[in-house]
Symmetry: C3
């Protein structure tokens, strides 16, 4: 599909600097050529903008005058670019029908506009909504609800009783509704505690490749509307993630932790169980969250790499901080420093 | 299925406080209603117990008097609850037979009571035990042994030569017996070292969703009886995990490390290779284990998140600990502090 | 297959200490018996070598005189052993043909020597090279190129447009070409940014079990020739990994980071986005890389576990380093220490 800049300006409410009849048919990087639409979200990329040979760019009002090519001016260039890109590169849509190799239980209801792909299984009592798309090798258990426009791209496993809200997309290899890790100690070993809750996934959620979300032990695990989960995230039983929270790859969240709305959790972060995080909490990558956090803000605990030689010395110092504190206290005592100051640092 | 409290008290050896003819048909949280059995394992949940409207609860002798509803009294309420829950919510059982879409090699032996589900593959020389259950999309290689009552829930991959002990459960997406990461340096690149060992999984083991267990390079990787592995764990070649050890999600264990019995490894923990951990070692979440540990006990290395602003200051201090130590030593020298004390901290 | 030591010595250019007519038919550990070939790469294993009853070993010239059994002497015993092991334990090869359960699009080109296994799907416009092997349950999207001798072992997902170079091996459960995690903020929520780039994987690459590699947002994600990726690695959009770099399990690399050639990235390492790492950079396990690194060398940031009681004290000290620094500065002031020394440590 090719569209003119004029059409795009009208459709997305942008001011247009340049010839409205110029055509674009794809989005691309600033070093592309031809009928390509680029975008610049930050003045960091000004040098690339000045050298670009794309057909047009989406920019904000500040950068627009610097553009050597026609510009669609937007207050939120990233979002405008995303909308145009979705138009030029539409995602795959359901081709209505059940593939002859698929196995749909006679008690399941599949909307006639939905696509059930090759080697998919849909269990008893499950409902597949309008225009839902099940790619190859998907397993949908019993009593599952997939709302309208849900997309399971390929070999997604949705276990019994799970519900997925409208327009949510599940990427290859993800598992929703596997058993939580629940065992009771008994003698030397462990007795499995049946995980009888389920998972409720809201609308407009994305669940990344090979991400796993466990079903609740008794109550449910809940992923609210608009949550975005990257790849290889592990969400344990009875976790709740609030609306529009975004979680980057490789995050692990232990059981029963509740995260508020609009949080951003950096990649590789770990969270202990039974915590409560409020709204608008931001954790930098590789953070370790071991207590509840109430106050909105940015939190971190990453220790960046150093040359190994320096790092070994630093670790040695860290391990001997107690001794260092004792030496400091001894010096303070010798120097007659006020007890109050010293006290502040030696309480444990 | 519905059972009376009287039946449950007899079957599980509990003292019963209340009417033995009351029926329960499921387990649930304390805020449920109807013929639901709840449980309380800690006095932390006393307020919820006092307000509960479930039909009955499982509690210990201390909490029993506080229960407003009939109580099954157990010395180990969590385990008793687990057993009752397993009775009320029985897991899926094998429906004997090989699905017409499955491909079973003529030289494989499948017990007539086993279920081989849709699109499963069973390779040459493999043996599938009594009542074993293979859900959809499972691949069982050649010369594999699945003992009685093994359950592969869905799209589990078990590679050539692997053995899985009785009653073990493998959750969706897990891979057992993939190649270990073994390469020899040669010139600028790497030459693959064939991984000719296999994986031996014991009895009553659970392997979580999307967990990966590599086959041994020469000898085998060994997961002993009663081990419980959560989701997204990575176990490298030639690792040995002792009986009844429980490993939480997202743990990575490098090659040839041996872990003892009854250990508990917190989520997100990493272990270097070629280590030996004794029995009854507990590692808190996100621990980094880089040396062998002999002494039973609790180990930790987590640095919890702080507000990013404070954290940046702390990281700066950490990186300059050497300089701080030098300043402290200089002060001590000036103050004439005994050399011995100072020595203790400045050895490297 | 059984080969004589004489044949192996000639084929791999080894000096032979011992009887050239001795046969070996497999490789194994030093505690094996029978016609087994072992190897010793380090004098650490000298005791095992002295006690071995294998038929022969591969060793270097220094260890050869200590061997109680015939020895193939190599300057690089590990690599020589790898080559011999590959000969004695050949990997599975493609059995030409498309399995009747596979679905190959009429517009796809499958080389007649390639094997397309059960329940595989090959999309429109895709090309499968000579001797390529697709194990069960693999999904190959549209416009994909798999070069000669590529091996997709089982349930591998290769998304639209991805190219995989010759002789590369993809292990079970890996996903190549899933969407990158790209969203534009809009109002309270997130608008998806279509990920229109792809993934280009070079020759002789290995991609481990359940590893995920996202397609580029606009440009491509690039895995260069000879790269070795272990299990459960996450590679975000537009990452570039240079030739012969090896990445151990559970590493996460955020978007647009570029890693040079011949790097070694230890397991569990996390890397922030938009970084540049040069050639020959080594990161120890669990490292956290948050800035670009230019200088070749070994880098680390791991804090090893301590007994939890000691660790709690250490964390307390770390959190109060600011106060400790203030006390030190106060003492220095009182002692009249030169301001210069103090300054060095209190800049923030």
């Amino acid at each position: 599909m090719a569209l003119t800049l004029g059409q795009l300006a009208v459709r997305f409410g942008c001011e247009l600097h340049g010839n409205p009849s110029i055509l674009v048919d794809c989005v691309g990087t600033l070093d592309a050529e031809g009928p390509v639409l680029g975008f610049v979200a930050s003045k960091v990329y000004l040098p690339q903008l000045l050298a670009t040979r794309v057909a047009a760019v989406v920019v904000d009002a500040k950068l627009a005058p610097s553009s050597p090519v026609p510009a669609l001016v937007s207050a939120n260039p990233h979002a405008t670019f995303a909308h145009i890109a979705s138009l030029l590169h539409p995602q795959s849509v359901a081709v209505p029908g059940v593939h002859p190799t698929a196995l749909v239980h006679p008690d399941a209801q599949v909307d006639p506009t939905a696509e059930v792909g090759p080697w998919c299984m849909v269990g008893a009592g499950s409902k597949i909504g309008a225009r839902a798309l099940l790619g190859p090798h998907c397993t949908v258990g019993a009593q599952v609800t997939l709302a309208d426009d849900v997309r399971l791209l390929a070999r997604v496993t949705v276990c019994d009783g799970v519900t997925i809200g409208a327009r949510s997309t599940l990427h290859p290899g993800c598992v929703v509704g596997s058993d939580g890790f629940g065992y009771a100690r008994e003698g030397q070993g462990w007795t499995k505690v049946p995980q009888v809750g389920t998972v409720r996934v809201g609308e407009d959620v994305e669940i990344g490749a090979n991400t796993t979300i466990d079903r609740g032990a008794l109550g449910d695990t809940v992923i609210c509307d608009g949550v975005k989960l990257d790849n290889q995230i592990q969400i344990a039983h009875n976790v709740v993630i609030g609306e529009h929270t975004a979680v980057a790859a490789c995050v692990g969240i232990a059981g029963s932790t509740r995260i508020g709305k609009r949080c951003m959790i950096g990649g590789g972060t770990g969270m202990a169980g039974h915590l409560v995080l409020g709204d608008d909490i931001f954790i930098t990558g590789f953070g370790m969250v071991t207590r509840s956090i109430d106050k909105p803000g940015l939190y971190s605990s990453v220790l960046p790499v150093e040359e190994a030689r320096s790092w070994r010395r630093i670790v040695g110092r860290i391990k001997r901080l107690d001794s260092m504190a004792a030496r400091l206290a001894a010096l303070e005592k010798a120097a007659g420093v006020a007890a109050a100051l010293q006290q502040e640092d030696s309480d444990d």
